[in-house]
Symmetry: C2
Subunit: 121 residues, 2 copies
Amino acid sequence: MNAQSKSELDAAFAALADPTRRAILARLASGEATVLELARPFAMSQPAISKHLQVLERAGLISVGREAQRRPRRLEARPLAGATAWLEQYRQFWERRFQRLDVVLAGMKTKQKKRTRINSI
Amino acid sequence: MNAQSKSELDAAFAALADPTRRAILARLASGEATVLELARPFAMSQPAISKHLQVLERAGLISVGREAQRRPRRLEARPLAGATAWLEQYRQFWERRFQRLDVVLAGMKTKQKKRTRINSI
């Protein structure tokens, strides 16, 4: 991994570390929107939303459309794909860990059943 | 999504926004390690590494083993799974976007070939 994609990942993960910014991305996944449209569902001033949008834009997660009046924001694919790819490396790790936990829990349930049966005899 | 898992995601993404911390997680994916073992590959003091470990621990991404002397760090599955699940919602979005880009690029190549053929006649 080169230095550029390292700092791209830094910026993407840092931008994702906020619930308002994640909600903005969720909204933009269903289509582009203006700052006003994005601010509406949040109990936040437009400058506060604009700050969040700046963070997202700097991370490359959103871009600004060319329509001079509306300047709609749109979701960008690349940093999302990069962050997903990084986390994807660990899927095997946590899936294995959860499977082991499932085995332990299944074992506990079997023991519990046996105990219940013995107690009811 | 409840408030707890929201702040869990905040902490996980914030912790992932640093190349040293991501490298520490990558190392721990292959097995638990002490602070000394983790510090070795980095040109960093032990206190600097310890600070990174604290951030990872607070985010639940690592835990500290019980062996009093070694206190080995191990990777934890849950926050990684949570962050992956959040990003996974956007897979369709960026896969579609990349497919569209592929179609555009394929179209450009076809045009290029035609032009080359016309020029060579």
